[in-house]
């Protein structure tokens, strides 16, 4: 498979990885929960900790997407399976984060 074809196929997932990296790192650095939390939501016990937790989860999603991109060139079923597992873990982690830090 040519490099150009690989870049074409992986273009959108890599963009998603870049978006996840941006938001994840920004959350970890600025610790601003408002970045991912809408207005008028339940108040948080510890906004900075919530932001850090959210940043780690988003980075995890980005890493999962990157792995999916690599796997998609080897076995598409494994790639989709890995992505589904990654998203389920992300969902559970986010629920636990919300339960821990929401008042």
């Amino acid at each position: 498979m040519k490099i150009e074809t690989m870049i074409q196929q992986a273009g959108l997932p890599l963009l998603i990885v870049a978006v996840c990296m941006y938001y994840g790192i920004r959350l970890l650095v600025t610790q601003d929960a408002a970045l991912i939390r809408g207005r008028d939501k339940k108040p948080l016990k510890d906004e900075k900790a919530y932001a850090r937790g959210g940043g780690k989860i988003i980075l995890f999603l980005g890493a999962g997407t990157l792995l999916m991109t690599v796997l998609s060139f080897i076995n598409i079923y494994a790639a989709v399976g890995e992505l589904v597992l990654c998203i389920v873990i992300m969902g559970i982690a986010w629920k636990r984060l919300a339960d821990r830090y929401e008042k």
């Binding site: 959108l12 997932p13 998603i16 008028d40 998609s72 598409i76 790639a79 992300m90």
Partner: protein, 329 residues
């Protein structure tokens, strides 16, 4: 002039600036280009608008609750592919299911909407019950749909549709394309849901203040699931319509449509900060967008430069919406 009135006029011009500029552009194009203000061109524009209006109406529900749906584009492609594999001619050499007769077209619409609705409800579950931000949840669903679609179609473009399917785009009733009629019916149903049902009231309540809505007894979680399920069903329908219009489908169909739909809703008056928006907002926004594209084509703008113009419009529309919200606060 009274200072308050002057400020009101200034605010009106700024808040509706995009729509005003679009109308000026359309008017200018009509004066300078032949065949712009013709019934044929108008009907073509309405046909192009129809699928995008259905998408915008679906996304409007998500935006009204201060969410978004980045999976719309992929869901459209998925819907088009599902419809495509079920409606191929028997004599088509590349038929996906060689031994399967093409199904009834209404049944196929139902299947597409149900399958997309299931994925939409999963997205809604992640947002409502697992508290995942809509941006992240819909981004994740976008990836899943992409992967499933690639497995399902083996990344192969589809074609060879039965005449009944392509007739959805080419056929007319009372001189108007079926696609336009579908969009009108969907708009009417959406208007009814937004304005005449409890679910519609719940939507606006959640968009205004989700905490207050929950305290007031609104079933926030179930409403959110229904909103994303309904939206996904509309994307599936839009995919069906686009597949009929194109006469083919692929994994890439619908890519980027979600951003245009969000921008169209914002231009028309649906606020990305939540709690505000009507069906007419989506209609106006989509109309403005389509007229912009047609006007740019008539003015001879390079196709690649059109992307820049559309991007600038999206940027300005959302900036003005956020400006309105900040000014209100």
């Amino acid at each position: 002039m009274d200072k308050t009135k002057k400020k009101q006029i200034t605010d009106f011009l700024i808040n509706n600036g995009v729509i005003i500029v679009m109308f000026v552009l359309v008017f200018y194009t009509g004066l300078t280009a032949d065949n712009f203000f013709t019934s044929g061109n108008l009907l073509n524009t309405l046909m192009n608008m129809s699928a995008r209006l259905v998408i915008a109406l679906g996304i409007a529900g998500c935006v009204i609750t201060a969410g978004c749906d980045l999976s719309a584009g992929r869901m459209i492609g998925f819907g088009a592919c599902i419809a495509g594999v079920l409606l191929q001619r028997m004599d088509y050499s590349g038929k996906f299911f060689p031994n399967m007769e093409p199904m009834n077209i209404f049944l196929v619409v139902l299947i597409v909407m149900v399958i997309c609705g299931i994925f939409g409800s999963i997205t809604g579950f992640f947002i409502a019950y697992l508290s995942v931000p809509p941006f992240i949840a819909t981004l994740a669903m976008m990836e899943i749909i992409l992967g499933i679609n690639m497995i399902f179609t083996n990344a192969t473009p589809l074609g060879g549709y039965v005449t009944e399917y392509t007739n959805v785009a080419t056929g007319r009733f009372l001189g108007i394309s079926y696609l336009i009629w579908i969009a009108v019916i969907v708009a009417a149903i959406t208007w009814f849901i937004f304005n005449m049902t409890r679910h519609g009231k719940y939507m606006y309540a959640i968009g205004g203040n989700p905490q207050a809505a929950e305290v007031a007894g609104v079933p926030v979680k179930m409403t959110l699931i229904l909103i994303y399920m309904k939206a996904a069903m509309m994307y599936g329908l839009a995919g069906f319509m686009l597949g009929a219009k194109a006469g083919g489908a692929s994994v890439a169909l619908g890519l980027g449509y979600e951003m245009e739909a969000i921008a169209a809703c914002t231009i028309g008056g649906v606020s990305v900060t939540g709690g505000r928006g009507r069906v007419s907002s989506a209609v106006i926004g989509v109309a403005v967008f389509e007229l912009l594209k047609v006007a740019l084509q008539y003015l001879g703008m390079d196709a690649n430069a059109q992307w820049i113009a559309i991007g600038v419009v999206i940027f300005i529309a959302i900036s003005l919406d956020i400006r309105k919200y900040i000014a209100k606060k």
